[in-house]
């Protein structure tokens, strides 16, 4: 069981800066994120795209912003729990008990939800295709590639994951790549590679086709794919892999007794606390009159939520307002020697 002052859910820019603000006022925190890396939407959706509206940074990419924030919180040695999703929270002796998908357990007086628009989950085929054989023959990620050896695999998608796995699996499996249009959005070198593999008959490519249905009861037997013009083709396959990127889902957050308004959580603008005592929401996931979904707003919200956490973490102490430029205490927390 991990004891800490604040558990932050979400390692995007808002969660990271909130961690910084908590460090500045002398509170400990740990950060949980469902993704396998730090940075949230910045790193998952637009690592290379420029951002122009971060105060005092005329231009930076999502990745640069993330790296700078990671640098900024280094002095606080914050522990990250990546690839873990918070599954359960409950009130326990005036604190919150938190449990993740990997059974990591926390006890903390405060939770800060900085969860963006929810946790990232793979986009799936429609339910009628997916439901029966999901996790068995229909997969959205690969844990052990050896299961595909000498098998027939249909890979759907046109981005880097689809192309990279098509190239990799074509070495030992019978691969068919299916994409809804002729252009692939993956890296040009990968596109060239799959075209070459196709020419050498090491894999098959069907474009302008999409998944229509799957056949098979306990085990996948075949898939039917449908051309834009309506023609249907049947492929005998052992596995189907879908790589359609990630989608954000609120997930278990909806079960925590929080008010939810159109996938967002209403908060007060004094300290960004929700209707539950000691649970704060900041960044894209929170809503209040005038809310702007900007990273800079998330920074402000995180700074105030951090102060809101103080009274529950240290009920007998008074929080003094201090500037980082002049305060000896703040400087020592930042590890700066005078």
């Amino acid at each position: 069981m991990i004891n800490t002052d604040v558990v932050i859910i979400g390692a995007g820019p808002t969660g990271l800066f909130c961690a910084h603000q908590l460090g500045i006022i002398g509170l400990k925190c740990e950060i949980i994120d469902n993704l396998d890396k730090i940075g949230g939407q910045c790193i998952e959706l637009y690592p290379d795209k420029p951002i122009y509206d971060i105060p005092a940074i005329p231009e930076c990419t999502g990745e640069q912003l993330t790296n700078n924030l990671i640098d900024q919180i280094k002095p606080f040695n914050i522990k990250f729990h990546l690839s873990e999703r918070v599954e359960e929270i409950k009130r326990q002796n005036n604190k919150w008990f938190i449990k993740t998908s990997k059974n990591t357990e926390f006890i903390s007086p405060n939770i800060v939800i900085a969860g963006g628009v929810g946790s990232f989950e793979p986009r799936k085929f429609s339910a009628k295709v997916s439901e029966k054989l999901e996790d068995k023959s229909i997969l959205y990620s690969i844990k052990d590639k050896s299961i595909f050896k000498d098998k027939s695999v249909a890979i759907f998608g046109g981005g880097d994951s689809a192309l990279d796995w098509a190239i990799e699996l074509s070495k030992n499996s019978n691969v068919t790549l299916i994409h809804r249009r002729d252009e692939f959005r993956g890296a040009q070198s990968s596109v060239n590679k799959i075209k070459e593999l196709e020419k050498n008959k090491q894999l098959k490519i069907f474009t302008q086709y999409q998944m229509a249905s799957v056949k098979g009861v306990d085990k996948l037997d075949s898939v039917e794919i449908k051309h834009e013009e309506g023609e249907i083709k049947s492929l005998k396959v052992d596995y189907v892999l879908g790589f359609f990127g990630l989608i954000m889902q609120l997930g278990p957050i909806t079960n925590w007794g929080l008010n939810i308004d159109k996938k967002t959580i209403p908060v007060n603008t004094e300290n960004f606390e929700t209707n539950q005592k000691g649970i704060f929401a900041i960044g894209d996931i929170c809503t209040y009159p005038g809310k702007l979904r900007l990273i800079l707003s998330g920074f402000h919200e995180g700074a105030l939520a951090a102060r809101g956490c103080f009274k529950y973490a240290k009920p007998d102490e008074k929080l003094r307002f201090e500037f980082s430029t002049t305060s000896k205490t703040v400087k020592s927390r930042l590890g700066i020697k005078e």
Binding site: Q41, L45, Y46, V117, G118, R123, S126, G157, G158, G159, H179, R180, R181, E183, R185, Q210, E228, F244, G245, I247, M248, Q249, K263, D284, R293
Partner: protein, 106 residues
């Protein structure tokens, strides 16, 4: 104001006057039309404001810009007439536009 008609997957139709300068997505969200999620808020990063534009309109509205087709790869059941509604700006020329909403967004 420009009249835009949103038809839900169930067939339920909503005709709304949308202010010029908003996107077709914003017109839907501000008027609580179910079926358009717009998770990313209109930054062309999520494909949850996916619509099918009626054939007769598809070639009349401004073409897709770079990136929209890539995002549509991730939409639920994209078709030839698929668009992201956050990328369609409302102008007088769109008076009477009809968009159909997909079965779901994710």
């Amino acid at each position: 104001m420009t009249k835009i008609t949103y038809i839900e997957h169930s067939g339920k139709s909503h005709s709304i006057d949308v202010s010029n300068g908003l996107s077709v997505m914003e017109g839907a969200v501000q008027n609580n039309i179910p079926g358009i999620d717009a998770d990313c808020g209109g930054s062309m990063a999520c494909a949850t404001c996916h619509v099918y534009v009626k054939e007769e309109w598809f070639n009349k509205i401004p073409q897709k810009e770079d990136g929209e087709e890539d995002m549509l790869d991730m939409a639920f059941e994209p078709k030839k007439n698929s668009r992201l509604s956050c990328q369609i700006m409302v102008t007088d020329q769109l008076e009477g536009l009809v968009v159909n909403l997909p079965e779901k967004q994710v």
